[in-house]
């Protein structure tokens, strides 16, 4: 599904990702952990194609295509989804309208028919309900005045509507209460199947109790410093990242 080789990413002229390799197979869920500032969000932005995140070396193959050749929206249409660590507020743009416009833009790019608005609203309402979100949020402007947790859940609603092949969730669990965390995890688990992959960036092993990861990686100073199975997450929870220093020394 995703094959990253020797990826280097510079932001504002400064190298942040410094030779990263990562392979995520179809149907797999990988967790990425690592200290603040280690480059986790940078990795997500670089994969999504954000301006200012300059790939200076390496390659990324996504679902058979060269991801780095694609524009931001082409990556989305190809099936890449990034749930932002800090979802953006968009005043004046209706949430439901935005969701439908996004879905239709992707469908149109793929030569599919646009969705009809009644059927669309019905599905969206179901997703909202599953995440215990107020329907009124659909009528509000995108993320404007949403609580922190509502913003995070709104990302999951978008993911559920857009049905990506690979979803990167950047700290979607941070700031969620315990019940919301479970609902979000369930939302992810409902989407899991053999054709869909996830990269879950998180600081907490708690989320990984609900979302059983196939692999856990530790990102440190722009590289994968350690990979393992889910027991690695437990070890980090107990010991913190101190062992990275000793390993490098």
């Amino acid at each position: 599904m995703l094959n990253i080789k020797n990826l280097h990413v510079a932001v504002g002229g400064e190298e942040i990702i410094k030779g990263l390799d990562l392979e995520v197979g179809s149907g797999e869920l990988h967790a990425v952990m690592g200290p603040n500032g280690s480059g986790k969000s940078t990795l997500g932005y670089a994969l999504a194609g954000r301006d200012g995140y300059e790939v200076t070396d390496g390659s990324v193959e996504f679902d058979g295509a060269n991801l780095l050749d694609l524009e931001v929206e082409e990556r989305a249409t190809a099936g890449l989804f990034l749930a932002l660590q800090y979802p953006v507020e968009i005043p004046g743009v209706n949430n439901a309208y935005f969701l439908r416009a996004a879905l239709n833009a992707q469908r149109k790019a793929k030569g599919e028919e646009e969705v009809d608005s009644m059927g669309f609203l019905k599905t969206v309402r179901e997703h909202l309900k599953a995440l215990n979100m107020d329907e009124a949020l659909l009528k509000r402007a995108v993320n404007e005045g949403f609580s922190g947790g509502e913003k995070k859940r709104n990302e999951i609603v978008q993911m559920a509507v857009l049905q990506p092949k690979l979803a990167i969730l950047d700290e979607t669990d941070s700031g969620l209460d315990i019940d919301a965390l479970k609902l979000v995890a369930e939302g992810v688990n409902r989407l899991r199947d053999e054709n869909r992959s996830f990269i879950v960036i998180t600081h907490y092993q708690r989320l990984l109790e609900y979302l059983v990861p196939d692999r856990v990686h530790v990102l440190s100073d722009g590289r994968i410093a350690e990979s393992g199975d889910r027991s690695l997450a437990h070890r980090l929870e107990r010991e913190g990242y101190a062992f990275l220093d000793t390993a490098e020394a």
Partner: protein, 406 residues
């Protein structure tokens, strides 16, 4: 600016058509004395009137050829169609409760026009040169909106001076829709007077966009006791557009709001000067104006709120927002709050900005093209101005028009 005088007032003789003779002579005299505004004239510094000097204006003739049909509306509406500055009687369709008559000298109040400087020159010019003046009298609550459609022939190069007065009787209600689109290199120098009797209510929508046509429009709403004036403007740009929009709150309980969007591109130059005069206490007003300027467009908004001494317990709120979409575009926004009364609340908020890159990336990361993302952000920025419109077909139409402008 004597060049303009020669262009717009070719001969010193004022056709003495009897009834308006005295007014016209006075207007002519003021113009000859003070001329047209110059860059240094207060409130006119952004308007390059030199553009008009370069043009030759023919004299408007009577309507001879076939008059094109006014645009279709997705709702039932009355229509008054002004083509080349003249009323097309064939297409006049008035809703129940509205009557049209010719204007009389007693319908014109020139006492408030400045005759000591060039500031009101175009209003004087209108008075000196208007061909037809019409008056609409509105009684009762009129259900259907009334569209005043302005259009010109493709090769229309005259200067025209349309003059209209709309009088709402006590308790009357109307939605007036000014729809103005024209491309040719003429000049429309219009005056619109709105009189709102006690307890009347006027919703005034303006949908305009011009090509080379220059528009200089002066609109004054006199709002009395417990009457309400609400204006919603959508300006899609024009080579030279100047709108003065004044609301005079004459009596307790009067209220006015002006909401507008100017979505400008190309070489558009659009200058809105609004003024709300709180002449008595317990009056309220609200202004919300947004300008989006792309390419080499220039947008000007000058919003004046004046609360005179003694107009206590009045409230006003002004909000402006600007979006600069290119490096060559310019926006000048100036709020002028002048408050001389007590127990008054007056607030002002202004923002000027560019498109938010975070938001643009966010939208694209969900599959929207960059063009779609930009259009949606512009729409989101502008559409909020029309939040105050009652939900319904008119609001939807206005939002569709907005989308088309962006």
């Amino acid at each position: 600016m004597s060049a303009l005088i020669e262009k717009l007032l070719p001969e010193a003789d004022v056709s003495d058509d009897g009834s308006f003779g005295a007014l016209r002579r006075k207007a002519q005299k003021v113009l000859m004395q003070h001329g047209f505004p110059q860059r240094k004239t207060e409130n006119w510094k952004y308007l390059p009137l030199g553009l008009l000097e370069k043009r030759t204006f023919s004299t408007a003739g009577p309507l001879t050829g076939p008059v094109p049909a006014p645009p279709e509306f997705p709702f039932e509406t009355g229509i008054v169609h002004m083509h080349n500055g003249l009323l097309d009687p064939q297409r006049c369709r008035l809703p129940r409760g509205v009557a049209i008559t010719g204007m009389l000298p007693s319908d014109i109040d020139a006492s408030k026009l400045d005759d000591t400087s060039p500031a009101d020159a175009f209003a004087w010019l209108n008075l000196a040169r208007f061909d037809q003046g019409w008056k609409l009298r509105v009684e009762g609550r009129v259900e259907q909106p009334l569209a005043i459609v302005t259009s010109c022939d493709e090769d229309f190069e005259a200067a025209i001076h349309p003059r209209l007065k709309v009088e709402l009787a006590e308790g009357a209600a109307l939605t007036l829709l000014e729809v103005q689109h024209s491309e040719a290199a003429g000049l429309i120098n219009g005056v619109l007077d709105l009189e709102l009797a006690p307890k009347s209510s006027l919703v005034h929508l303006i949908d305009r966009s011009f090509g080379e046509t220059a528009l200089i429009q002066r609109t004054t709403a006199r709002v009395s006791d417990a009457a309400e004036y609400r204006a919603f403007v959508l300006d899609g740009g024009g080579r030279l557009t100047r709108q003065d929009l004044m609301a005079e709150l004459d009596a307790a309980g009067a209220s006015a709001s002006i909401s507008g969007v100017a979505a400008l591109g190309g070489r558009a130059l659009v200058d809105y000067h609004t003024a709300i005069e709180h002449l008595l206490g317990r009056t309220s007003s609200r202004e919300n104006f947004r300008i989006l300027a792309d390419d080499q467009a220039v947008g000007v908004f000058n919003g004046r709120i004046h609360i005179v001494p003694g107009a206590d317990d009045s409230h006003s709120e002004m909000n402006t927002g600007n979006l600069l979409l290119s490096e060559d575009a310019r926006i000048n926004t100036k709020p002028e709050l002048e408050i001389h009364a007590e127990d008054v609340t007056a607030s002002h908020g202004a923002t000027i900005g560019q498109l938010d890159d975070d938001a643009r990336f966010y939208l694209r990361s969900r599959g929207l093209t960059d063009g779609q993302a930009i259009a949606l952000l512009k729409y989101g920025f502008a559409a909020a101005v029309f939040d105050g419109m009652d939900a319904g077909a008119l609001k939807e139409w206005m939002l569709e028009r907005l989308e088309a402008c962006l």
